[in-house]
Each structure stands twice: as structure tokens, then as C-alpha cells.
Amino acid sequence: MSVRLRIISAIKQIAAEQQVTLPPLDDDLSLHETGFDSLAFAILVARLEDDLGIDPFTISEDASFPLTIGDFIRAYENVPA
């Protein structure tokens, strides 16, 4: 499964657990509009770290937090493996 698909799948699972109804996950959807709160994002980042072995938001000191779904996925895709 690609990084993108794994991220989308993790988002959907957390949404189900947190009883959040997701809008369609287009690349330009702002993260705010997903309905996720900071706890849900914290869980997402931790699970992806376990799944993909990377946490792009801790690795880089000057990483700004992404604003959209596309930014979020690219943060993972752009980390050298």
C-alpha cells in the first residue's frame, strides 16, 4: 500500500473511532475541515510513526504544520526513507 493510501486509511479508522464524519478527503481540503481535533491528529501522527517509521513533524525543527490534506501527505512522502 502506498504511503498516501496508508495515511488515508489511518485517518478513516481514527474518524470511525472518534465518531467524526469526514468530508471527501481531497488534497486541498484543509485539515481544520476534516473535523479532527488536536487529539485526533496526535493519535494519527503516532500511529503513522509506528506504521511508516517516520514522524516528519518531530524530525525537522522548522517543519511548519501542514494546512491541507495534500500538505500532510507530502510531509510523509518527502521524508527520505
Binding site: 488536536s38 496526535a42 493519535i43 501522527v45 503516532a46 518531530t58
Partner: protein, 461 residues
Amino acid sequence: MSPREVFALRDYLDPDLKGRTLSDPRQVVSLTDIAGETCLRGRLGELSGRSVLLAVTGQLLAALAMLEIDGVARRMLLCPPDLNADHIQALVEDAEIDVVITDQPARWAASGIKLVVTAEERLQPAARAQTERASEWLMLTSGTSGLPKIVGHSLEGLTGAIVADGPAQGKPLVWATFYDIRRYGGLQIFLRAIVGGGSLVLSEPGEPIADHVARLQEKAVTHISGTPSHWRKLLMSGAASEFSPRYVRLSGEIADQAVLDGLRRAFPAASIGHAYASTEAGVGFAVNDGLEGFPTAMVGENRDGVEMTVVDGSLRIRSRRAAHAYVGRQAAALTDGEGFVDTGDMVELRGDRYHFVGRRGGIINIGGLKVHPEEIEAVINRHAEVRMSRARSRRSPITGAIVVADVILADGADAPRSDEIRNKILAACRASLAPHKVPAMIKFVTALDITAAGKLARTDA
């Protein structure tokens, strides 16, 4: 009026009480004969009025030395086996130590301590010593990091709860404890055995649990104590089935309903009690109704010299069994202005009982919202499939921390059902905990670290 009589441990070693023993895997010592013997090659007289560091390797030798020097030395500092060697110099200075009792004299030759006295398990005959004074008992707090604090007790305070419980009826008791007797919880059991005229079976580090239980059975142990972590380990081992003590005691950690129920099923004929005690506050109380927490009626009134209050959620205890002071050059005050020890153990009122929720210092902060890991563990442990769990903090770039949980399943690795069990646990957590307290991840593990003091290791606390 004559001065109050001073008792020391030797005064409980009645030569007419036959058949009392102190044992470990290697040796059985008669407590009946011991008052006429020495483990110090007859050098007790040199310890009169001195400040003693009791730094022997094994518990049996520590017990023999305590029995011999109590009432003669000015004070004795009990060194638990896991004491960090880097801390010894500071402790020696703080406790004004001028004698060390050791089974490894060469190690102390260059320590700067004036007198090194060798102790050995091979006992030699000696004249029965006289009690000269009330020796001060110094114990170390069991925190995991930094220099431990030295806590000063008297024998009278240490045995306050034992005397309050009254003498045992019927046949003499055979005590055992999973604790090391140089820790407060273990020392209580050692003292119960000595003061109550009974026997004691010591634990041994590294001993396989089946071998330990075999010894407990062979010595016909009637009364036994340990932390909930000790007990969960025993329940997990499957070794408990042949063992049938009359009294099972838990202390040192929160006894949740799951472990109380597990012990009830494992030992249907036993009375099961959980006690609250700390090195500083002494024994607070014991609860014997099989339920977690303790009745609110225990708070606010003076029971056997113990008073409890709850201030800002933390249990405070004023007690004749409490330590009298922290000892040392920069020792802080042990009690507040009214004589209460702030235990740092947080309680929550639910219905007519207070429930322990965790340590004040152990709180996990999730983006400003707080949780005690023990609160989450109590929910997880309720599941029949779970034997033991640990909730812990995991660093998060978003919220600072999130909570994750490590879980040991009751039947070992039940891999085919692990997803189902995980979902069941998470559903129960969502039903009874605030969202930030629900573990973000649950990992099934085969073991969780237990500290030398018998408590679940909390590295992030």
C-alpha cells in the same frame, strides 16, 4: 513513676516459643534459639550507641543483623539491594554513619567509614544481649530517580499497626512476603512475624516463581503480602493452584477490582485485604471487604491513632505510625504545620468510597488535559482477557503527549483474537473515560518491568 520500658526486637524472641523459623532458599534459622547467637562474630558491643549502615547482600543476613543490633545501636540505616552505589557517600554523611555492617568487608575498606563489621549467616553462640535504648530505624524512599530520602522511624511507630490488630489467635502464623524486608512493605511483614511470635519465609531475587511457591507450600505459609504487580505475576504463572494461604495482603500500589477479584478466585478460602502504607506515613489502614478503594467513613476520624484528610485530592495522614522526620543536612519537613504527611496519592470520591487514582507526580499531560495512568489501567484490567497493563505517556508533536497502553493478556499471546480484544478494550475505555484518556494505541506485550520495590516500572513518571 518508673521510666517507660524500652522494647527492642530481641525482646520478642521468646526462647519458650518453639519451632519459629526464618528461611530463604538456602537456609533455615531458628528464631527460638537466635537470641543466644551472633551473626557479627560477637562484636555487638562495639556497636553500642553507634550509627550503623546495614549493607549486607541478602535478606536473611539483614534480618539476623536487625534482630541483633536493634536496641543497641543509636540508629540503623537499612540499605535495599538495589541502592545506587553513587548515593552511598551522601547517605552516609546525612545519617552520620560511623559503622558499616557488611558481608563484603573488602568493598568497604576504603570507604572512610571508621568501623567495618563483618556479618555472616553462620551463627556463633553469644551471651544474650541487653536492650540499651530505642534504636532509630532509618529507611530509604523508593523513588526511581535521584537521591533517596532518609526517613526516620521508631520501632514503636513501625509496629503500631501490628499492635493495633492485636495478637493472633490459635496456631502461630507463618508469614511470607514478595517484598524485600529492607523496604517498608517488607519490613512490616518481618516485624509482624517477629512481634507476633510467628515465622517468616523470605523471597529471593531471581528465583523462579514455581520454586518460590513450592517453598511457600513446604513451609505452610498462612499469611502473605505483596504488591498488586507481585500478585498479578503469581496469578499469571499458574503456580498458585497448589497454594492456599489464609490471608492475602496487597499494598504498595493501587489494588484495583480486577486483581482483588482474581485473588478471590485463586484463593477462595483466604481473607483478602489491601493495605495503604507509605515509608513516610506508615501504615494508614487495611480494607478487608474485597472492594477497591476505601469507605469515606475512614476519613476525618481518629482510628487507632491514625487520622486522614483529603486536601486538593491528595490523601494526608497524621499518625503515631508515621516517620518522625526526614534525616539529613538539607532534610525537608516531613509533615505540614498540623502534623499531616501529604502522601501525594490522589483519591477521588465515588459514591461512599474513595478510590485511589494515581500519584500526583505521575500525571500525564495531553495538550493541557490531565490523566493518571492508573485510572486507565483500572479500566483495561477489568477485562477477563487482561492480566496486567501499563498506560504511559508517548511524546507527541501535536499535544505534547498522548496516552498509549501496553497490555499482557491473561492466557499469554492470544494472537488470533488480539484485534477483537483490542477493540473491546478501546470500546470500554471510550465508554468510561474522557476522550483524551483513551489510549491512542494498545500494544500486546508478554512482560512489563517491575521495579526492585515490586511496583510497575513507570519510566515516564
